[in-house]
Symmetry: C2
Subunit: 244 residues, 2 copies
């Protein structure tokens, strides 16, 4: 139907191994089971350690394997569905909010956030740090950026505590919100909160809260990409993991 097909791309070495390993996981291993060490696995499949490692990284990316420091590589359970649209019913901090505040600061946001908020470069805003738990596990870390104009009852400057900022946000008449989802890598702080290594792939959800046609607040949430899939929509979300 008239689509140009780019020329065939050579298959990397580890690709076939990944398929073979994936079948072995299905047929020989149970969820949570620890795999043999890399040397034994490489010997069993007759490949170099480097090739094996690439295949394992791939399977980790697809959510099939979990690697934990000091534990080893185990077969991952299916990814948890985490409802993004239900996370903040109307506004951050409202009843039923899935997020727990863990602290706050009065600092200049990154340039990209300042542009969304239409604040001056270098100008300070309230920053509330929050985490989200699903089934007892921290699945996401968030920075919520609130300019002083959105919480006029608070004095500009460090807030007494994070609840004060969230409480004042409740008074703001919000028009709506929009979101983007993109791939990112965990920064040092998020990595600590999510119990991942810095640089681990994460899903970054940026939510813009709109009031009176302007951005009233911006939340940048970092979800673990290994254990979570984000769900959107009215009906019950798909119950299975589907990875490329």
């Amino acid at each position: 139907m008239g689509t140009t097909q780019p020329e065939a791309v050579p298959e990397p070495k580890y690709w076939h191994l990944k398929t073979v390993l994936s079948d072995a996981l299905d047929s020989e291993f149970a969820v949570g089971e620890i795999l043999p060490n890399e040397r034994d696995l490489a010997a069993r499949f007759g490949v170099a350690r480097a090739t094996l490692r690439q295949a394992l990284e791939q399977l980790e990316l697809e959510g099939r394997l979990q690697r934990r420091r000091g534990v080893g590589t185990s077969v991952a359970p299916p990814r948890m569905g985490v409802a993004v649209t239900d996370a903040g019913p109307n506004r951050p901090g409202a009843a039923g909010d899935a997020w727990q505040p863990i602290g706050s600061a009065w600092e200049a946001p990154p340039a990209a956030v300042a542009r969304l908020l239409e604040t001056e470069p270098g100008a300070c805003v309230h920053i509330v740090r929050r985490t989200r738990r699903t089934r007892g596990q921290i699945v996401a870390a968030e920075l919520l950026y609130v300019p002083a104009r959105s919480v006029p009852a608070l004095a500009a400057g460090p807030a007494e505590d994070s609840t004060a900022v969230l409480h004042e946000l409740q008074a703001l008449p919000l028009d709506g919100q929009d979101r983007s989802v993109e791939l990112g890598s965990a920064g040092a702080d998020e990595a600590r909160q999510l119990d991942r290594l810095p640089g681990s792939p994460v899903l970054v959800v940026t939510t813009r809260y709109v009031a009176a046609g302007r951005t009233a607040a911006v939340a940048v949430a970092t979800y673990r990409a290994d254990t979570c899939k984000l769900t959107f929509g009215e009906s019950t979300p798909p119950a299975v993991a589907l990875a490329g």
Copy 2:
């Protein structure tokens, strides 16, 4: 506020280099500019090639760099916002659909899709392959799975062409749709369509179309994670890239 903090995680070697490189990209390079080769870069920053490569991979994950075969590593433009909720107004193939059909097949879907469709394992369904273009570039490849019961006017078996399946889908009264977004890796076919290497990170969007309380069709779309961010919601999406 009573959140357990996991013990501090050691910062990997390449982490500091990544930050330094990121600042250099901001201050010294323009979008599209090709970086010096790895040997020169490693020498300039006084690091081993392996460390440099890790930092470059990280910046690619965050959408700051693009690596193309035979071209080299260049500074990436900001990620394109691709509206997911606008992709299929009500149903696949309706007017305004962002997806172009490129072929169809009559095959058994993967087990996970069969479960969503509630078809027998191994039973064949219509599979329509589609791609989505944004600003002239293919940003996503999709497999749309349609069980025979959802298109009763078509004979079971290979459809005459993909448009026939999409056309018959228009007759189906849909109740709604829900979605999940997760990290995946490009399979060989998607990689070819997206002009990426197999195994490249992708964002996998699974859409379930619901009719009469049942799953009427399932679409599994694979978006390039390097150049796209997915947008959701009513207002104009955030205009800037925000990576971990």
